[in-house]
Amino acid sequence: MHFNSFSFIYFLAIVLILYFLTMRWWKLQNLLLLAASYLFYSLGGGPWVLLLLVPTLMDYSIGRLLGSLADRLERTARLRKLLLAVSILGNLTILGVFKYYNFFTENLQVAFNVLHLSLDAPTLSLMVPLGISFWTLKSMSYTIDVYQNRQEPVRSLVDYALFLAFFPTLLAGPLDRARKFLPQIAAPRRLTPEQLKIGLHLILAGYFKKLVIADNLAMRIVNPVFSNSPEYYGLDILLAGLAFTFQLYGDFAGYTDIARGAALLLGFDTALNFRWPYFSFNPTDFWQRWHVSFSEWLRDYVFFPARRTMLRWKNAPPILGLVLPPLVTMSLSGLWHGASWTFVLWGVYHACLIILYRLFEKKPIHQDPWKSGQAYPWVVLRLALMFSLTMVGWIIFRSSSLSQAGYLLGNLSLAPSAHSLDFFYDLVFYTAPWCLAEVLTYARKDLLLFVRLPFAARLLLNGTLLAGIVLLNARLATEFIYVQF
């Protein structure tokens, strides 16, 4: 069951009705949500719901054991480490087998062939379980946090199971941290009109972003160019790159808005994923704005540990301290998106951007560049440069192979073709209103600016969004891009 299906709307409506009926009994609500979440997952992922029980039971138990073992004693400290390793390895094994096994064996086969060696590695015909990349990370982060005493081990198995399986965020995040989300599960919650208002607005905006913007850009520009790239050149590729830049944002931000909106209707505040990502001034800034919950996960569980390791390495050349942490982090980030070299290359590309930025920017900007005293044209230029670099990254990301990425980037220019004008009109038509909305919210630094409009203006906006969804939706019934990861 996907968010962009009528069955999800009915499902959500039924869950909300039952949820509101049990408003006085929040523990019952948790059970209801857990049952609904497993039903939601089994309707989309079939038997994979059983797989989801593995990290649920494993990490719940490990969390409890970690909590019961004092970390100061050498003997228990070793046991704690072992338990942590079991949790991490367990989750990585699930991820590795279901998502990466074939990728690695295929590449291993190629490597052996190059060396004229023989390898007969079997391939597995397994489907990648929905949301596996998200719930394994969530579960891992919980045990790491418990190990590091940043998180109390959860007492209730239902609470932990709900934390992992909470249906609005199960398939593609946002990646909530246990320390922020579990307290919400473990306490009664109150629904305010303000929450409901914001929740509904987010859902409406999310559907608009997905069905109107992302799907139309995909159908009209991105898919034709990327599925038949040799027929296109020059400006067409540039426009397709721009279209995918907005498609991906619309698709993922749309998903996130619906997820956050649905969670809010249930009284839960989930993590933020986007803070105007295309208003980034530099690569570091970009990763603080794009897929924030995942970036923060990477920062806390990969980047910081990698940097600490480098700092502990006394004789390491300083350049390694600069290069390795972002390279490892971003390569893993790329690989996390999918078992393909284009994703890895995309990750390495972003690592290079971060490294170059750190190398050449002597005083990295941490404050708002608009208020840093820099001339406005210079600030705008930086925005445009980072946007362009991001778009180049997305072309790599969207390409089906390294050779296609090479072709597209090698033929990118301003030379128009017979398709260019139509592409341009489509691009402007489907992105202009959203771009305007982004500029307005960014200028006021308020993601919920439109929720705070006067009553009549909100009615008109909501009516227009609804009309836009009915009228302009591409009728593609495509999956959300990040659900496929």
């Binding site: 109150r190 305010t192 303000e194 505040d269 009516g463």
Partner: protein, 350 residues
Amino acid sequence: MSNSENIATPVRRSRLREKPSSAKFVTFILEVLGSLLALVLLNFFTLWYLGNYSPNYGYWTLHQKWALLGKMDAPVDWLILGDSSCNQGVSPALIQEKLGETAINLCTIGSVTALNDVWMLEEYIQRFGPPKGVVIGHVYDVWSRDLDPLILGQIPRPWNFWKEHTLGSDLLGNPEIRSQVFQERYVPFVSQRLTLTSLLRSLIFGKLVPFKPRWLIDEYGFLSGEQAQPENAIQDGQDHMQFVRENEPVLSSINQQALERLVEIADAYQLPIYLMNSPLYDGLSADDEFQAYLGELTHQIDSVVGESQSVHLIPEIKTFPAAQMQTADHLTLPGAQVYTEWLIQNVLTR
């Protein structure tokens, strides 16, 4: 709250006892209902807009002509019915000037077949009684066409109006078709989404003046064909030839039933009804194959209406050079004046 973080937080038990402001909940409910109402209002604004400024010539014409019939407050001597060739071929103002008799042009489009002529005539008679005479003009190929009942959804009459008309309940009695007609008629966001998307695009890119009609009909319903398009007329003539070669002349079932009803009405009221051929490009009319096709079709029509004393089938064709035409069967204003005068001399004053 400066951004959407920390929107919902768990509350302490003591705070649970606080009742949320019921006024705020009412406002929220009002917002949900108001948003849906805004959607409905936008939908009805779109309906009104398309009725008056639609880029779809067929829908616009159907809407305008039925609206014109609805707005009529006095009977006329001559009722002109038919398709778009007649719409821009017969000028009621000229009839009035030459004959001193009133007329109104209610011609629409060929896709609604002769059934629409019957319905308009039924509506007219119901309100004003029979006129002095009726002229019905169609391009020959309209007689072979079937009817997609969905298009009847564009007729701006109260829901269920078709029950009062010939074959209406047969065509629209099926609940599935009726629900499609409902969508076609009242939910343009779904049924006319391509048209509306194209309109929005034109508006955004400054290619559309929003409240300027694309076509103008005068107070008598006549639509004036402005610019002659001789090349288009010649090409269209060739397309017609191809149609004639590839198709058998067959009077469609819906047109046959419409003709039978016309005979009933004409005989009941002793109302003279003249079935006319549309004006035609002379290059097409001169073709032998075309003449053979037309001859056979005329024979089939005659077999339905021939015994009526009041329905008169006019087999003659008034032809025109390409320089007076926009297509092989659509005239410019000078051509329309010639055709109307020919009609007056050869038909209305018989």
